[in-house]
Symmetry: C2
């Protein structure tokens, strides 16, 4: 019976990893569509979104079933409840990739405003956060989760840099306003993906340590 | 023992309602600071945020304890797991109210760009969504939850209206760009509050009906 429960937990982890990898791939493809100015990558994003949505439901059902049947306590219970929260975060990362595609769809109808340098860098960083956040969950690695929290400062710096640069464009040439806005919104989509990865990392530290860091980080950010 | 479990569930509900009411009040105060051009209301927002963060932790702990001790199944288990998800949503609504205050802080340093008509209307609607979302959870009222999902279209319409109007300002006068951007970002903060209320409503329909509508709504929105 114990052996069987371990297998079930591993099967659940495997689903979360698949979901996370898919959400990360969606982010990558959405930014690729923007940078290469080719919407075909967004078709893949929409296709992957169905997988993510299905996995979200499957994971929630698996968690409820495992809690009801196995009646786990302490660490395992915490892990199971957090799995459903992490599933929700991954699903919202996928939503943001879809939103990037919607903003990209607008942008590709017009000439390129400026070469995109910082946006792909920012995307690389948030994709890394998603990957590390999920790795830290699977390996119960609180140190890696803390690294994800620290990376959030880098995301903020990218966001501010993009904002300032595009603001300059908008203020000097009204023709750039709409496109610059779409690029600012894409940077906010990426920021939100980073936020979701941060939420995952905070959950991991909670699961692993039984310690709640969730609001310490926010306070640090504000202060 | 059964009686006791009911009392415990009611105590948990009461905490969620307190958390939801606080998050809703924070949204209201943040918009009030913007409209009345008085930052003192944001001081209250920051104060309330601590309450919300504390309740989030308390609710998660209560849920884990109740599952471990009472080993609930079916509806009660679903209700408990969803309570932690709803706690996360409410905590993020509070975060958005804080973000509105940050954008308001910038705006209040400059003259009023334009009289704010649509933003407070949009805020009223999303506050109503938060209230109804939570009411539908407490009363297990799927019909009310469905109303919340439908209201989301109204939020989108407000968001588009605000965007179009401010775009006109930005394109005709570069001096308005930064302020208009801050107002657009506030409308996105409100949109996100509406999204969180929608997530709550979808969870309610799932808890009450055991039926997952979570991705049907998205597909409708996209289609």
């Amino acid at each position: 019976m114990h052996r069987r429960f371990d297998d079930e937990l591993n099967a659940l982890k495997e689903k979360l990893v698949r979901m996370g990898t898919t959400a990360q791939t969606m982010t990558h493809l959405a930014i690729r569509a923007l940078v290469e100015r080719d919407e075909k990558y967004c078709q893949d994003v929409f296709r992957h979104e169905e997988t993510v949505n299905e996995l979200n439901i499957v994971i929630d059902e698996a968690v409820l079933k495992l809690i009801a049947l196995r009646q786990p306590v302490a660490g395992d219970l915490r892990f199971l409840v957090m799995s459903t929260k992490i599933g929700s975060e991954l699903e919202r990362i996928a939503d943001q990739a879809v939103n990037i595609c919607q903003n990209t769809h607008f942008l590709l109808q017009y000439p390129l405003l400026k070469p995109l340098i910082v946006t792909p860098l920012m995307a690389d960083v948030v994709e890394g956060m998603v990957r590390d956040g999920l790795d830290s969950f699977v390996r119960r690695d609180a140190a890696l989760a803390r690294q994800v929290l620290e990376t959030d400062d880098k995301v903020d710096a990218f966001k501010d840099q993009i904002f300032r640069e595009l603001l300059t464009y908008m203020m000097s040439d009204p023709d750039t306003v709409h496109r610059a806005l779409a690029l600012i919104l894409i940077s906010r989509n990426l920021e939100r993906i980073g936020d979701h990865a941060t939420n995952i990392a905070e959950d991991v530290i909670y699961v692993v340590g039984g310690k709640d860091v969730r609001h310490h980080h926010e306070e640090k950010k504000r202060g």
